[in-house]
Symmetry: C2
Amino acid sequence: MARIVPSLSLFSLGLAAAFAVAAEETPAYRTVNEVIAASAPADWRSPDPEHTLYLELPAGRVVIELAPWLAPKHDANIRALVREGYFDGLAILRSQDNYVVQWGDPDADDAAKARPFKTAKARLAGEFTVPWRDDMAFTRIPDDDGYAAVVGVSNGFWVGRDPKSREIWMAHCYGTVGVARGNETDSGNGAQLYVVTGHAPRHLDRNITLVGRVLSGIERLSTMPRGAPPMGFYETAEQRTPIKAMRVAADVPEAERSALEVLRTDTATFADIVEAKRNRRDPWTKLPSGHIELCNVPLPVRAVPTTADQP
Amino acid sequence: MARIVPSLSLFSLGLAAAFAVAAEETPAYRTVNEVIAASAPADWRSPDPEHTLYLELPAGRVVIELAPWLAPKHDANIRALVREGYFDGLAILRSQDNYVVQWGDPDADDAAKARPFKTAKARLAGEFTVPWRDDMAFTRIPDDDGYAAVVGVSNGFWVGRDPKSREIWMAHCYGTVGVARGNETDSGNGAQLYVVTGHAPRHLDRNITLVGRVLSGIERLSTMPRGAPPMGFYETAEQRTPIKAMRVAADVPEAERSALEVLRTDTATFADIVEAKRNRRDPWTKLPSGHIELCNVPLPVRAVPTTADQP
């Protein structure tokens, strides 16, 4: 008898449902995996290659989708940096357990050695929140949240909203990508980026600019050896994983792109997934939680099905 | 100018405060690190060696503190298994990104090869919750939580409580240790254990028995290569990290024990830490969150200060 802690892997769909249900039971509920298995092709979208980044590491690729409507100036500046080749040959600077992995120029603090910018801006006003616009996508999550008046998902990104101030902002969840900054709110520019690799540090929300999230390859970051306490910065060049290159997906020949699809979050399928996770009903679960915390909301990603996968 | 995402490392105390404050400012607030730096020796306790486990891996030791008042039968059974040598030579079975690492007998499902129990019980009624007793320690966290009526900390462990049903239970946070089970609620026995190494899967609360949490060495688990999707089980013996031994700290010669102290959570120092994190006031933070989610509550651990550390 297998003893397990069941779960859903976001990066491994198209698999058999985790829990087999005998056909004669005709269950009134579906698991998250069953909802995904029954999704329609139209429930999925391809990320825009102009706003998708590839972080190329020796171990392979990390794919990042940007959310330009949530941080338009940083989206543009980061793509400018990437297209300058700014990141190529730089390094992973930091891995702090249960927190973040961060990358950029190891010599950023040494004016004589720091890599210069070409077209990108060195200072950008923080986009910690942006004004809500009625043309923005927003799918509300029904449960209360302590860090935001309202929480939900905007076209595939976890977000908070404040209806009074009419602001919206991306939330710090596992896999979100942010722009490190100094104490000044305009000291971030995208030349140092971080990915959340631990429990969601939601207290950082609205204090720093978030630009996107990892769609695949996060395990290449999350398993990196941790750096020196307390903040996990590596102390020697040998400890740092080199960055082979960062590229905008649109600049990569189509045959070399990662063929991924993201579940649309304005669909009935997504609503069913949220409800299936809010109230898990399967042979293992004894007490459905009746609640879902924002960062536990699944945002499924799959490899593009090939003809061979079609029934 | 260093661009950072500031943080507190729980495993690296006794260090300079993350943010230097000029003496003339005489701040009305303190950071978490400053509160810890000002703590008294009486604010710290030594974990009970009879309820502390060492998971000895090739890369080093993982120290686990058990919470016997929250799962007494499992605490006893796991210590019986450890003292039988049950885990010695077994292996890490599973590492699933943003979820758990799990260990036990790779042949558990093969009756002919499975390692037998000697004195430990093969089936134990689940201790998903236990009855609240007025002699239990409980420090309430002031903020609302979607998964429990009341949340807080019981002598160093994150817990939920239901005043109506008078139940208390450990919550799934980063580093908590649980007892894998099959579909039957009495199918767990402690022979397969897991540690949360990702965002808190709180929907598992009250569905499975939690027994303790990792005090140090969690990075030895959290950086392990991920196993095969969807659940992260390793598929070959070569992929599995061997377990050299598991030991009860009390059975280890004192000179070989890990000298750790845990902050007492019934102290003013702990209350100050929670408040310092609920409302961060430092030169970096622009908008204190005014809220703390249970699994973001710090439970500081430190190496026992030696004479050389005394002022």
